[in-house]
Symmetry: C2
Subunit: 254 residues, 2 copies
């Protein structure tokens, strides 16, 4: 791999270089296959470069030439190189350098979206992206304190779902303040039992921080306070689990 | 810390020494406080030794003497020592050496239990223990291939819930074969929509492996095949997320 790309890929482990280059990494065979598939890549994320192993080339003999046409640069590399520049513990397949979409404002159309108020853990964000994709949610409105959607850990944890769910990072209080014609829901300790909540079809589900829940400055913008009933003793559920249960109850009740 | 204990604690990172010593580690302030609290420690796990920092002693001045009465050995140690013998990235509080309960056969009384068919990831198992505790499930019937309940990662990820949920490791096919007078449920690709499933109050929910789902040799023992409806594109949900959604639907429908 030429030195320029080695440097570039390593730099993209860090947010500041992703932001300045407007590029991010996609790693691992499965995510790469989805990235190059028009059918799975709803967000039309375009690709600048592809680095693949002999193993990947063998496994994807028919697809590889089509992939190569889509990128400005493609290159066969050893697995050792892939490991030395990438972030995964094991990756015997490929790394792609993809173009980061602009942080374009996302409106709530006739749909449910998620608002993430300060999700800090990349693994949790990746899991939430995957859950959103499972339940057919296409937009995440993220507070500026929410961890970077395009970090390698988030991309990996989303299991390909980053291709079908879009983020918009903004001042979340301001965003919520402007949404007055739809249902806005958030989980609180003493809210309405989620089993009895009737959800509107158009709206926003606000997901709070892993340790502190929904920040105080957002509470006033969330008229529908809901609670997941507890039947045992655990003090809390993690943010990904809570997101899944709320989405499931919304879809079930719809 | 005396050399004997340094060696012991480090050895308990490994399953073979946990099994031979019948001991396991509990790390971090919050888990330790729950461990020593009769109110939270449903499983009556007893404690052999406690190693705590000056910080922990300051924060728990009234409780510490009561804790010390419960253990054969307690000792003030530096944070550096705690780090060098323990497994957590940050632990400014304490480590306890606790007695591992015997692998006692667990019967299904008038209750719902979970059966774990080959859960390999310690983080997933910890999350499942926490979810079980949230939904008031007290027993996990684990296949012998399921990762060790008493490993430090599982204990940490369970966030204290290991004190209220008990495992029984066994031949799961044999166990299920003997349970004929209750509802046995498991998630499959083409099962009954979980929103329409009526759950019996007494039964077993079988949770499959992260990658391969429920093993073939168990399928015949699971008359109630259920499916979590998907509304979008994600290929699958992780084992912890699926467990939470199934438990929530069971409790909601009850």
């Amino acid at each position: 791999m030429i030195n320029k790309y080695q440097k570039l890929i390593k730099s993209l482990h860090q947010k500041k270089f992703r932001s300045s280059e407007n590029l991010f990494l996609v790693e691992g065979g499965k995510s790469i296959l989805e990235l190059f598939s028009a059918e799975n890549n709803f967000n039309k994320i375009s690709i600048q470069a592809l680095f693949y192993t002999e193993h990947f080339a063998q496994e994807n003999q028919e697809l590889l030439p089509l992939f190569q046409k889509q990128v400005a640069h493609s290159e066969l590399v050893t697995q050792t190189i892939l490991h030395s520049v990438g972030t995964l513990q094991t990756n015997e397949n490929a790394i792609a350098v993809a173009k980061m979409p602009a942080n374009f404002p996302l409106k709530v159309e006739n749909e449910m979206v998620l608002a993430l108020a300060d999700i800090r853990d990349p693994g949790n964000l990746g899991t939430i992206i995957r859950i959103a994709d499972w339940y057919g949610i296409r937009k995440l409105i993220c507070s500026e304190t929410t961890t970077d959607f395009y970090s390698p850990k988030v991309i990996a944890a989303s299991m390909g779902s980053f291709l079908r769910v879009k983020p918009f990072y903004c001042d979340l209080a301001q965003y919520l303040a402007m949404q007055t014609d739809m249902g806005i829901y958030g989980a609180f300790l003493k809210g309405k039992n989620i089993y009895e909540q009737k959800f509107e079809q158009r709206g926003i589900i606000v997901i709070g921080n892993e340790s502190n829940g929904i920040p105080d400055d957002l509470v006033g913008y969330i008229p529908n306070k809901i609670t997941i009933p507890r039947f045992g003793e655990a003090e809390s559920l993690n943010a990904g689990i809570a997101t899944a249960i709320i989405c499931d109850n919304w879809r079930r009740g719809a």
